[in-house]
């Protein structure tokens, strides 16, 4: 990481002692070279409050599991029958400069009359203006208008303003490139224009908000790839490669001051260890996973909820090696990943069982880690002044901009015609872009065989 530029926030975070959180403090300093006083932010370290001493109750686990699955996966979708194979018309080489072009298009929007126009229309308080920008369908996410309570938001902002503090939005995200073959063809370490576009959109939102808020906002991406790599059957070297490329592009685009990246696993480990040296969060998640198994087997409604989670895991787990080794057809793979035990699957009963077992085990672990983080209130414990942001719009959390029907790591970048506006880059699962009638061109950068973005006609 040393080879990339880091923000002051990241440097402070990396230097923080275990069990300590950052407390941003503005102080006044006299710059002798310039003969001017200024007010930079420094980060003090203070111990986090102790983790709970007791394990969560079964009731808490059950209720939290329901809320978690509903918030993350919602109603299971019916994706229908297996889509036709994607036909890529041609392959062309493009420059990384494409990302800079998109940045330019977005910054034009941030400095266009849009912010003024939106702020003028919302009028009144700064909090209202800020929430309007966060809810703007172009700059932010329209879901925020119904999910964020203005009064509570105003109260949080007033507290931060009284201390001359920036707003920190914490968003767990950017794990690694999804390995579902219907969503992407790329390797797990690939960062395409979709991911870069989302970084740019967060940066753009910061620029816009800075025009109505005197201290501005920082995005803190809590990258969760290392936390979930094993259970999603991801090679950690791919996760590291993903993180590397993410920081590389952030550096090249000079947006590292508005979009910070820290690691969720690192955050969890910093919360403390038990007497035997095992991270406390692992102790909690281990207990939760164990209790959850008992609850799911004894409560039918919880079992139904858990089935939704298993479906979701199948669609997300990296089964590429298994698909290859079993020589599964496209249709068979579609049925397996969509939890559809059709006739073809029955012929491959052992495959079905293997996929299902892996997904079930992963679902327990995935849910347990998430519930342990919630039970320990880790985000608030480490960042008490931070506001939670999310990729899945839900009440009380700020939804980040959406570039398409999936988040960038769950799909591919799609550009229709040229990169001219903030809406030029979309993110979709690969199989969906192939269902249209327009010709598809794969655009690759010279140092990678992975597709940087798909150009779609029409």
């Amino acid at each position: 990481m040393g080879e990339f530029k880091s923000s002051g926030f990241e440097r402070a975070w990396l230097s923080a002692p275990p069990g300590h959180r950052l407390r941003p403090v503005r102080y006044e300093a006299y710059d002798q070279v310039n003969g001017l006083l200024h007010a930079p932010v420094t980060y003090d370290y203070e111990p986090i409050s102790p983790l709970p001493t007791e394990m969560p109750s079964d009731q808490w686990i059950g209720e939290s599991l329901r809320r978690f699955v509903l918030g993350e996966f919602g109603k299971p979708p019916d994706r229908g029958s297996c889509p036709a194979e994607c036909i890529i018309g041609s392959r062309v080489e493009v420059s990384h400069r494409i990302a800079a072009m998109y940045l330019e298009a977005c910054e034009h929007v941030a400095y266009s009359g849009l912010v003024k126009g939106v702020a003028r229309a919302s009028g009144a308080s700064m909090a209202h203006q800020l929430l309007t920008l966060l809810s703007d369908p172009i700059l932010g996410n329209a879901a925020n208008s119904k999910n964020i309570d203005l009064l509570a938001f105003t109260s949080q902002l007033e507290h931060l303003n009284s201390e001359h503090q920036r707003v920190y939005f914490l968003v767990p995200s950017f794990p690694f490139k999804d390995q579902n073959p219907f969503r992407t063809e790329a390797s797990g370490g690939h960062v395409d224009l979709g991911e870069i576009a989302l970084l740019i959109r967060l940066h753009t939102l910061s620029l816009a908000i800075y025009q109505v808020h005197p201290f501005g906002v920082d995005w803190v991406i809590v990258s969760d790839g290392m936390s979930y790599a094993q259970l999603f059957r991801m090679d950690v070297t791919q996760v590291r490669a993903y993180n590397y490329r993410l920081r590389l592009f952030r550096d090249i685009l000079n947006i590292y001051s508005t979009v910070n990246i820290i690691d969720l696993r690192d955050l969890c480990v910093r919360a403390g260890t038990g007497p035997d040296g095992v991270p406390a969060i692992d102790v909690f998640s281990g207990y939760i996973a164990e209790r959850m198994q008992g609850l799911v087997s004894s409560q039918s409604d919880l079992a139904n909820t858990f089935d939704v989670l298993i479906r979701g895991m199948k669609w997300n787990i990296n089964y590429r090696d298994a698909i290859k080794s079993y020589g599964l057809s496209r249709e068979e793979t579609w049925q397996l990943l969509n939890n559809q035990p059709g006739p073809d699957i029955r012929r491959n009963g052992n495959v079905w069982a293997e996929f299902h077992t892996a997904a079930t085990e992963a679902a327990y672990k995935y849910a347990a880690i998430n519930l342990a983080i919630r039970y320990c209130d880790l985000f608030h414990r480490f960042f008490p002044i931070g506001l939670r942001a999310t990729t899945h719009p839900k009440a009380g959390q700020v939804a980040i901009p959406s570039l398409g029907s999936v988040m960038p790591w769950n799909g591919v970048a799609v550009v229709r015609e040229r990169i001219e506006t903030i809406n030029s880059v979309r993110t979709e699962p690969l199989y969906k872009i192939c269902s249209g009638s327009g010709a598809i061109t794969a655009h690759c950068v010279s140092d990678s065989n992975n597709v940087f973005y798909y150009g779609v006609e029409g």
Partner: protein
């Protein structure tokens, strides 16, 4: 790990209203958000008007300094009487035009043109505004120009003060090939084909010390801008104008007195210069300037001088003697400075006056946002 099961809907770019006050913004937003309903509120100069106007329609072009746009007055948006009232407008008329923006197709060549469709007769910009109108109630664009005029006057007064006190004025440079110092970070300028970016110096302090050496004068000053993305307070912008002065062989009390006198002098009269009979000037002459009297009659009101030691100075650096500030209560720093020891007993004093903060003290609502907005016309064309 985030996942999607289709519950994550794409935010729809639904039509909504944007109220825009420049042609450049209208063009940008129209291009970026073609579905948005754009309302225009433009202050501009008529640069052309159709000779084929009648009681049912009239066209003219309006230039607002950022670009120009066709303006249409037509039925049924306006009635015949309203259209008739616009007839006297001609080239060079300055108007405030409001209406909806859309495309109009020329039937002769079938070309579409971005057009502001008036829904009210444009109002002629009057140079004799209501004397009761206050600076705070002005429209943002006019208030912005007003702030710029005010800043110029504050600067003029400050320059007058330092000149009258025998300070030599210099025009210093902004560009610096390198800038590796800690402290206030610089804004950088990228030259195409010139490799690494150059830096915009946040202050001319080092140049002033050089000038003290080369001119043999004991005291110099320069008007400059502090270019920096750093947060200094919630008033100053990323290109904040300031005056920086330096003098040799001074003491803290002397420098404090100089800064306080300078602030009092600047605030003593900024409304009477210049004397052009412009409407903004006339309006500002009517403003209630109570603060000079307050500052002379009550030392407890404004300004106050705060002298303090720098709490964050490196303990190993003995060059910094002391710091001071002239504050507008509660915390607006109008002037600040320091006395530093050069190698040996020689002392140099630095004092800076900050015009945006002075402006904020006068009119808090005219706040200079940290705005990196456009200042050039039509750059997105």
């Amino acid at each position: 790990m985030g996942s999607s099961h289709g519950q994550f809907e794409i935010a729809s770019d639904h039509p909504r209203t944007l109220i825009l006050d420049s042609v450049r913004d209208i063009e940008t937003c129209q291009r970026s958000f073609p579905d948005a309903h754009i309302r225009a509120d433009l202050h501009g100069l008529i640069t052309w008007r159709s000779k084929r106007s009648n009681k049912k329609y009239l066209f003219f072009r309006l230039h607002d300094g950022t670009g120009s746009i066709q303006v249409a007055a037509r039925e049924p948006d306006l009635n015949a009487t309203e259209i008739e009232s616009i007839q006297p407008l001609d080239v060079y008329s300055r108007v405030n035009a409001k209406g909806n923006v859309g495309w109009m197709t020329n039937t002769r060549n079938n070309a579409s043109q971005l057009t502001l469709f008036l829904d009210a007769p444009p109002s002629l910009l009057s140079y004799r505004l209501d004397p009761q109108t206050t600076f705070d109630t002005l429209e943002p664009q006019i208030a912005n120009i007003g702030a710029q005029i005010y800043l110029a006057r504050l600067r003029d007064r400050a320059v007058e003060f330092f000149r009258s006190h025998g300070y030599l004025e210099l025009v210093t440079r902004y560009l610096s090939r390198s800038w590796g110092f800690p402290g206030v970070p610089t804004l950088q300028v990228t030259y195409s084909g010139y490799g690494l970016p150059v830096h915009l110096a946040p202050s001319p302090k080092s140049q002033l010390l050089k000038a003290l050496v080369l001119t043999g004068k004991p005291q110099v000053f320069s008007i400059a801008r502090c270019f920096t993305p750093a947060y200094r307070d919630n008033v100053v912008s990323a290109e904040s104008p300031l005056l920086l002065a330096q003098c040799l062989d001074t003491s803290l009390p002397t420098l404090c007195q100089l800064a306080e006198d300078a602030v009092r002098f600047v605030f003593d009269d900024i409304s009477t210069k210049p004397q052009e009979p412009e409407y903004l000037q006339q309006k500002w002459e009517r403003l209630d300037h109570q603060w000079p009297e307050q500052s002379t009659t009550s030392t407890s009101v404004v300004p106050e001088v705060h002298v303090f030691q720098m709490s964050h100075a490196p303990s190993t650096d003995s060059r910094l003697q002391s710091l001071f500030r002239v504050c507008w209560p509660p915390d607006l720093i109008l002037a600040e400075g320091a006395v530093e020891r050069l190698d040996g007993p020689a002392l140099v004093g630095t004092c800076s006056l900050h015009f945006e903060r002075m402006l904020a003290a006068i009119r808090p609502t005219v706040r200079q946002l940290q705005d990196l907005g456009f200042t050039s016309p039509d750059e997105v064309g």
